[in-house]
Symmetry: C5
Subunit: 88 residues, 5 copies
């Protein structure tokens, strides 16, 4: 899984039917994970811009929505997430 900060969101009006209602957030991994790329994940917990979140990828993102074509989901909000920015 990945921990990161929500840095933005994207809107898609014309999309597959099973994505109706999904919120797509852009997540930047915290520096200590040393992951270069950002990931687009569907929000499952009501995360907002600036919050630190836990992201799951692959088929794990669909355990609650087997027919939605998604491969990444925000499944938790990290407590005291900002401290992660300074983690070595």
């Amino acid at each position: 899984m990945i921990i990161g900060k929500v840095v933005g969101s994207v809107v898609s009006t014309r999309k597959c039917e099973n994505l109706t209602g999904s919120k797509f957030m852009i997540v930047e991994p915290v520096p200590s994970l040393k992951i270069e790329n950002r990931i687009v994940a569907v929000d499952r917990v009501g995360a907002g811009i600036g919050e630190y979140v836990l992201v799951t990828t692959g088929s794990a993102a669909r355990v609650d929505a087997p027919t939605a074509p998604i491969d990444a989901a925000i499944v938790g909000i990290i407590d005291d997430g900002s401290s992660l920015d300074n983690m070595q």
Copy 2:
């Protein structure tokens, strides 16, 4: 998931039967995602060259077509996608 721009397409006449009718598009991730490589994805929403799209990967690409051997699909068109080129 990935957001990117459709930059090309490829044609395959000799292919597995379950791919008949599939359109294979080449997608370049937007710069802000910091993903180096492009991806080839099957179009599910009628995307055209130059459009900004939402791509899902892995088994998520097959939720609507379980017998098609595909691992990436375009599942949405991004509203106001060109603004993503300037996103930090």
Copy 3:
């Protein structure tokens, strides 16, 4: 699979219901694997900070918990793990 050292943990109070009780550990791959990034994995074996562990990724992380949205799990403690730090 990945072998690495547990270097930290994160806490998420507000999370998907199926993650209740999960412990999220940050694992740094041993140098000889030449994997740059750290991974966040759910602990299944009672691993502690500083221990060397075996991590499985993808759907393999859910064989014991099919409804939990996790994509990485610690599934073993490595015997004599510190020797791995010097492996070429």
Copy 4:
């Protein structure tokens, strides 16, 4: 999915039973995809060395052979593939 050129093959006599008859080809992604590494894929369409092919990865490689332990398959031959070498 990946598009690439078949640059070689490997033979394995001692292998899992469900791989009997499989042809393992080494595929190099076309330069425009900016993917560094080559991939070993099982041939499903009669591809030969030098041909440009479409490769699917992950569980998609097993839609036609659920019990074969393979994670990549050549599922199409690209028409006019050599033009891809010059694509920007």
Copy 5:
């Protein structure tokens, strides 16, 4: 799939029950694949240190053992594998 050389092994006494009896080998991809990182894979064919092997990843590693939490398996021994070290 990946072809590589077995360069080591790890032992885990305290592990998930469904891993009992599994042998964990460290595999280094052959240079021509241009894959930087090593992978830890469960041996299915009796591979020894120094042998060149075929490794499958993801859910493909579990086709013969659906309840084992593994994401990589050695599924074949490469014939004349040492020649791969010189492949361009």
